[in-house]
Symmetry: C2
Subunit: 133 residues, 2 copies
């Protein structure tokens, strides 16, 4: 498969504090936020070249992001790779023995399809695959 870095997801505890750095200090351009109800998060993308930074803000206490922050603190949460055909990519990874969190893709931000690979198969990294529809 051909995979390119789409974005880095950052778990956000305090949105204003995160924007003070990534938007105000670094000067990155902020897109309009987008709710992803399936994950109970609000996504704030800042484009930084071909790839982007996604500030992921939990919208409920039981959001996976809220749990991550409670356990490890705010910081880098995942690495998202863009693929052309996510169904084919997941099938190929499964054949290669890679452990998947999502065997089938689900809706993500920006009208995309996404699926997560288990960190146990990706050297401790939570990897998201993303296909833009």
């Amino acid at each position: 498969m051909k995979a390119t870095i789409d974005h880095i997801g950052i778990a956000v505890g305090d949105l204003n504090a995160s924007l003070a750095f990534f938007k105000d200090a670094l000067g990155l351009e902020l897109d309009a936020p987008e709710d992803v109800p399936a994950q109970r998060v609000r996504a704030h993308f800042l484009q930084a070249g071909e790839a982007a930074i996604e500030l992921v803000e939990p919208t409920a206490d039981d959001s996976p992001i809220a749990k991550f922050i409670a356990r490890r603190g705010a910081g880098i949460h995942h690495l998202a790779l863009r693929v052309d055909d996510i169904v084919a990519a997941l099938a190929e990874l499964k054949t290669k023995g890679v452990r998947l969190i999502d065997e089938t893709p689900r809706p993500g931000a920006h009208n995309s399809l996404v699926a997560f690979i288990h960190p146990a198969s990706a050297h401790g990294v939570l990897v998201e695959l993303k296909q833009v529809k």
Copy 2:
């Protein structure tokens, strides 16, 4: 300043295990490794579009990467942003009250100049600035 994502640094505990995923399963192309003696690491870059994944392997027990792995385990270690003028970028961030680990740049991989921003000023993220000479 204009900042673009240059790479994601991953702290590597077992190089073969990390290559089994990022090189063999994902099919990303691996560059020749490069030692960075100042950090006591060996850097293995895999290009993934405009941005890259850097597998950072400690070469000594007192390497900052070895200490990171002992504390938090293998996984994402830093986010590197490419800037055109690292000295000007550091001066601008300092004026804005951002806490810097390196006030002046030092040599990095690929004949670059690098400097780190303190995670306390970057919402828990260890951010590297990089200027290619």
